[in-house]
Amino acid sequence: MNWKILLGALLVIVPLVWLLATGFGHDPRALPSVLEGKPAASFTLPDLDGGTVSLESFRGRPVVLNFWSTWCVPCVSEHPVLQAAARGEGPDGIVFLGVLYGDEPERARRYLARAGSAYPTVVDPTGAVIVDYGVGGVPETFFVDRRGVIAAKFTGPLDAASLARHLEAVR
């Protein structure tokens, strides 16, 4: 009788522990990057300086697409890392492009004037591009290769080492 109870308990407990172990082993905030390997959605949007930027115009060059806002603390912390990397690129190097997320263009202009700006930031007034890229929060950075395919997505603030690794992968 006792071994029957033991067997029954094991039958319930073992799968349960396995389920919880796999469940808690995952970071629930780490969103799976389903877009990797898929073509980057095209867009043509106004930038903060009164111009227009189209993603297609960079075809043939890798693109770093960084979704950010001024109210996002991790974005502010990764800002110098991105700026330094962008300044290191030649005229035919990797293109850096910011997409403003949930923020006032005027505030972003003031912020960039103060914190430095080595590349354009576009404004997405309808949020269409945010949905196209499945952006959950900021910062999120997409690395688009020369063919216009999303090679990687990085969620959270980039440090110099992670950025360098991802840049080498698409270069």
Binding site: V34, K38, G102, I130, G134
Partner: protein, 165 residues
Amino acid sequence: MRSLLLLFFLAAGPAVHAQDALPGASSLPGGNEAGIRARAGALAAELRCPVCQGLSAADSQAEAAVAMRTRVEQLMREGRSDEQIRAWFVDRYGEWVLLEPPRHGRHWIVWLGPLVLLLAGAGVVARRMRIGAPRQDATDPGADLPADLAADPWVQRVLADLERR
């Protein structure tokens, strides 16, 4: 007009096959403005607002949620079915974007698990109740009594009471 109709059927063809639930009105592409609004509201309620905690895209005024609702309506105007629009969002956000777990593969565990546990529990309860209940095949309670004791009127009353039970 004819080309519009053709477009309608071309768009509806795969949609009808892709639809596994909610047949009827929800699979019709286009439709009037109020219909699209209602359909979009219902579909947005199935999509997770990416910047909220446990809210659907229909329940939030966050920029991302508003943008998702706008996109749902736009895709509906383009004539896509609910199933196609769900797939569109899953392609970009992952299955995470669906508030209800999908019904395939290992996801069945969350749908069937509670049912299996309920049935198992009912089985245990039923077994317990059968063990505790008086046995129907019990022998005559007075059968093994000595004759003089069985003749005692008080014992006979007790036995009669037992019979009645």
